[in-house]
Symmetry: C2
Subunit: 313 residues, 2 copies
């Protein structure tokens, strides 16, 4: 039985890699560039070469390695097949099998990056100690990862946890990036919060510290909330109402122990959770009323942790 | 290795029992009354006695039986602990362990009745051949069961699949049985459909075959839809809009292969699915746009099938 696992977080510009022991202690972290030319045909060979070199540098052989996990930016099903990653030039194929061949038979597990990050937060992050959780990533968009009994819920076509596209507002005329109208992502992402703020500022002449900024961002809003700015607080309440309603719907489906909130917006800190909890409790079914909320804690390392964790199951 | 399994579906007035082979062929079905007096303390002993008698009648001993599965009307977690079944007078205890003791150590698995019925539909019903499905029960209320990789998603407190309480309508002032306002159940259940119809009839003077009935029921509505009644068709569209929106939210969370629609309302037949599909496609994330829809096929036997299936995992 091997003593080490590799975790790989494949992004659009950089591949993050980590070498861990099976207890989840990180031994080494490094990065290589993502070479997207030729439909991304170099990406997996580059990753395999980097892992083999690390093994050689460390004097490891195959028997020392339990396996390699990889998170990729696209839908991946429970068998490790990616359906499409337009960002990398990839079509449908088994990432799991192809990388295993390149690694000379070392076992590989593959998952969607958001789902893998959720598993990382379960293992060594905000969700440590829980095995049924929903990780919510509030960044440019809204992503999610569902963990049930310690395992990723990948879904039939790898689209499990695509919670940013839950329809949440019937009176929306603007279109979401997905083509629908009224998706959670349109209100709870960084761009969504900034848009709520711009709308709020345009609707009234009330003074607000947010008016000092040419481009209002999510950070502008949360900083103003912390300063007690009335309009910013109204925006935070709108955000919380939408996200709380969305998380309540999720709880009616999977009834998690805990929500782990991460992504750039979560840098606002615990104050964010205060605005989500109350509307959540208002909308949720009573059996899920005591679901916990916490912040993600691994930041950009969640992916390598979660990838590594996948192969230990 | 045993060759037989027992499935038990514990209801408020009757306990249904089934003896199956491990392939899912039913050998015998029977019922006993549910004795609710003394906080339901006779229920499990009655069930154990009935199973033991059947084994004796059939000349079976413990080694012939793989196990006994039981579905109960209340939240049951993944460990077989029921949290409460007010209807039976039960508080929190391990149904799984207590019934196993009464059966002299035969392995027992316990689950929530709606979740167990979903598993039954996966095994031998409308969802046969699929392992990731959402079963939707449109009866007096709206229930659900989520099956992921062939297993019940029980949830942290046994409330997985409580999809009837997804908040779906912001402009509702009537209260749902759960205490919230605007739950899916308020529009997609038999009582919800009847209410939509009464409202529609009160809002206009247009002729409708539904006006002939003193009490409009869901069946009245669907019969009228089949006769081309204009107002009934409008009610069916409202129903489909609500349910389609709710199922789209569920698909953004668990991305199932198929929705299996059952319960009394589903007796309307395939026409029901026609009204759900279009709004579903409008609201859902593109990766789940091709999710299939089918009708449940086991009727009241779904519970005994699913209970039996639980012990074969």
């Amino acid at each position: 039985m091997g003593k080490y696992v590799f975790g790989v977080d494949l992004g659009g510009t950089t591949v993050k890699l980590g070498l861990f022991d099976t207890e989840g202690n990180v031994k080494e972290k490094w990065e290589i560039p993502t070479r997207k030319e030729n439909n991304g045909s170099n990406i997996l060979p580059d990753i395999a070469a980097s892992i083999k070199k690390k093994m050689s540098d460390q004097g490891m052989d195959k028997n020392d390695v339990v396996g390699v996990g990889i998170g990729v930016p696209g839908p991946v099903d429970a068998k490790g097949v990616i359906y499409k990653a337009a960002n990398l030039g990839w079509g449908e194929f088994s990432v799991k099998e192809e990388l295993a061949v390149l690694l000379g038979g070392i076992p590989v597990e593959a998952g969607n990056d958001a789902n893998v990050a959720a598993l990382g937060e379960m293992w060594k992050g905000g969700g440590e100690g829980y095995s049924n959780l929903v990780a919510v990533t509030l960044g440019t968009g809204v992503g999610g990862g569902i963990i049930i009994n310690g395992r990723i819920l990948a879904g039939a076509t790898g689209a499990g946890g695509e919670i940013g596209h839950i329809h949440i507002e019937d009176n929306e005329t603007d279109t979401c990036g997905c083509g629908n109208c009224g998706c959670l992502e349109q209100y709870a992402s960084a761009t969504g919060i900034a848009k709520l703020a711009r709308k709020k500022l345009a609707e009234s002449d009330e003074p607000s510290s947010m008016r000092r900024f040419k481009d209002v961002s999510a950070k502008t809003v949360w900083d103003a909330v912390k300063d007690g700015d009335k309009l910013a607080i109204e925006v935070a309440k709108q955000f919380g109402e939408y996200l709380g309603k969305g998380l309540a719907a999720i709880a009616c489906v999977v009834n998690p122990e805990i929500f782990v909130i991460g992504g750039g917006v979560s840098k606002a800190g615990d104050i964010l959770l205060d605005y989500i909890r109350e509307p959540y409790k208002k909308y949720v079914f009573h059996a899920s009323r005591d679901t916990k909320f916490t912040l993600a804690s691994l930041g950009n390392d969640a992916g390598i942790y979660g990838s590594a964790r996948m192969v230990l199951d």
